[in-house]
Amino acid sequence: MGVYVSLLVRRYLTTRIIPLIAVGAVALCVALVTVVVSVMSGFLENLRNSGRTLMGDVVVSYPVQGIPWYEDLIADIERLPGAEAATPLVDTYGLVRMPYPDGGNKDVVTAQVWAIEPDSFARVTEFDRTIWWKPADAAQALAMAPDDPRRTLTGKEYGNAKAMRDADTGAPGALLGMHVSVVNQRQRDGSYRPRVDRWWMPSHEVTVTLVPISEKGQVSQSNSRVFKVVNEVMSGVFQVDRNRIFIPLKDGQELLRLDEAPVVDTDAEPDAQGNLPVIGTSPARATQVLVRAKPGVTPRELRDQVTEAYAAFWGRKAADRSVRVRPPAPDYVTVQTWEERLRDIIAPVERERQMMRILFSLTYLVCAGLILAIFWSIVSEKTRDVGILRAVGAGRLGVLRIFLAYGLVIGAVGSLAGAGLGWLIIRNINDIHMALGEDAPAWSWIAAYLLAALAGTMALRALVASRVLATLLHSVAALVLAGIGTGLYLHQGFLMWDPAVYYFATIPSQMDWTNAVVTCIGATVFSVLGAAVPAARAADIDPVRALRYE
């Protein structure tokens, strides 16, 4: 390959404006794809991680009635080769009476109530990590804002959270999702402050009301209990943080009457006090058992093991004549991986990402078309140069290479710039989003109007000097700037990423590098393809004609 190829490519690139426009256009396309797909990938990734964070790998569930003898089941499961730990859970919906506002008429909210055993629950999920009010160590404190309440915590709240009990009074403790209380306000750095210091939740109590449902499916007398708010949790999944509260397993079982209870013989005659004779005990129940897989064991493998374990557990209990209360038959119990449980959420997102990828492959075509158009005009303009090159001995192949290499460089430089731009946007996407969410500062629209006025004056001056292009360009600039100014002036903070819609409190800000690399390669390849047609045309130019071309 001739050295003149690289020499000319270099010169064509550095002495003209059009290739820069092409580079910019390719960069914008690549940045767009990179940002959109990265956000979607991050979103999926968050969903995936949240599954494990929230519910471990595999869930055994039998809602409402619950599974009796769940301790035996858990012991069985924990002996499985693939299981790391298992924990019982009672989940239901209930009413939570909040401590605010002042006066007798308090706020009451509905919430998803999870009654848990904090120790084992923390072994199966990442519960511990989601507890928010922990004392900060020195390094963390450095990164925190000066008014972050976590800087001054003693560790009492954290200790209470892990025990789910107020260490001073012995009262049962509840943990609230961070967004359950309307008092908590998210800051730009992602931390939280109570709107009013007095309403910092861990110094208050809530009343939880649960409604037990009888074996016949009827609602019976509701039960209420007061809990000390010992801490708050922040899982990052908005739906959870908005709706969920945690109470100790035993309290949940008692409130729902799923605790151990005597079984009476309803056919017998009541005794003198009106009590029926006790003929046994009904064991406590859990509506779910969450299981965590050992490292290297996939959720699916674990699910199959757990399914078998449940069948064996049931078979054993059913065969045991001394057992009066049988666990539900395996057919009625669902054993699912977290992915299956979240499928309703994950599947559409996955499809959407796939669709985005397909839709955005169109940007490759845009790149190719753009380069084709630009190169077509460059080749027309360079016809004579092609003749000159042929006259000094360059072959058709060399001419072809010049324009192909030109396209390659534009595609590659544009792709790299685009990936860099995308990376910058993604890294700062939450800040950008926050800035969009606030009203535009006054200086921004005043500056835009001033610039518009300046451009207008220039347009007038150009008009007086009867320079047509300058008049036109300055008028357009004035209009655009005035438009931007008006837009900024009217701009009301608008947040596109509504956490209530997108599950997570923050926009994923992880760069999807695989996708970025694929996009860069695609854009480069298509740039070269776009350059190929004009390059072939250039190679076909008859040098004699080209030299006559004046």
Binding site: M1, G2, V3, Y4, S6, L7, L8, R11, Y12, T15, R16, R384, D385, G387, I388, L389, R390, A391, V392, G393, A394, G395, R396, G398, P543, V544, L547, R548, E550
Partner: protein, 244 residues
């Protein structure tokens, strides 16, 4: 003059006393839509080593066409073109490219420099053709030196970094000559090199060509100026598609 030493497989068998470049009975017809325009109808010309031949002829008589055919830029429809006695009509496109690069140098009426390259780069251009990166890294110094020396001799030493657009017509044409001489060709093919220059620049350019001719370069120069043609050893007339 240092020999360029290319053409390893070409049997370098110049017929003693024979022409270095020769066209015999060359025909060339252009087609404009359905109209056929016969331009050359059996033109013949022989150029001997170190000889300066002028081709005179009226506008449209086919002078440029003949020159392009001699330089391997255009192909004859019929007839023979031989360089050092070897037929170039049958050359593959690649060999023809090499031939233009190695053995002939073109100079055109309208300079035809590449506007994006500097004067020095324009002069070096033929030496960058067909040279790979590795070879280039070894030879770039030598090539640059040769281009500098050529431009120096043509009085352009202070213009190396300029773009063609910043030069006068006479200066541009000298850059074109430097480019034509870069690969040390045997024949210079000049198509009205003074056609676009004023009398003084034209005269000084002819002096430059004359100097190369004295050093042994064969020159074929197209012109329709009798006084310019008179500088040559020999003048031929092209009329009615034939050389008289």
């Amino acid at each position: 003059m240092t020999s360029s030493g290319h053409q390893p497989h070409a049997p370098a068998a110049p017929v003693a006393g024979g022409p270095i470049l020769e066209a015999r009975d060359v025909h060339r017809t252009y087609r404009l839509g359905r109209v056929e325009v016969p331009v050359l109808k059996g033109a013949s010309i022989a150029v001997h080593p170190g000889e300066w031949v002028s081709i005179l002829g009226s506008s449209g008589s086919g002078k440029s066409t003949l020159l392009h055919i001699l330089g391997g830029l255009d192909r004859a429809d019929r007839g023979h073109v031989a360089f050092r006695g070897e037929e170039i009509v049958g050359y593959s496109p690649r060999r023809l490219d090499r031939y233009r690069n190695d053995h002939v140098g073109f100079v055109f009426q309208f300079y035809h420099l590449l506007p994006e390259l500097t004067v020095l780069e324009n002069a070096m251009l033929p030496a960058t053709v067909g040279v790979g990166m590795i070879e280039w890294s070894r030879r770039r110094h030598e090539v640059r030196e040769r281009a500098r020396a050529l431009l120096d001799r043509l009085g352009l030493s202070h213009r190396f970094r300029h773009r063609p657009a910043e030069l006068s017509g006479g200066e541009r044409q000298r850059v074109a000559i430097a480019r034509a001489l870069m690969r040390n060709p045997e024949v210079l093919l000049a198509d009205e090199p003074t056609g676009n220059l004023d009398a003084r620049s034209g005269e000084s350019l002819l002096e430059v060509i004359a100097e190369q001719h004295r050093a042994g370069l064969a020159v074929v120069m197209v012109t329709h100026d009798q006084w310019v043609a008179a500088r040559a050893d020999r003048t031929v007339h092209l009329a009615d598609g034939r050389v008289a």
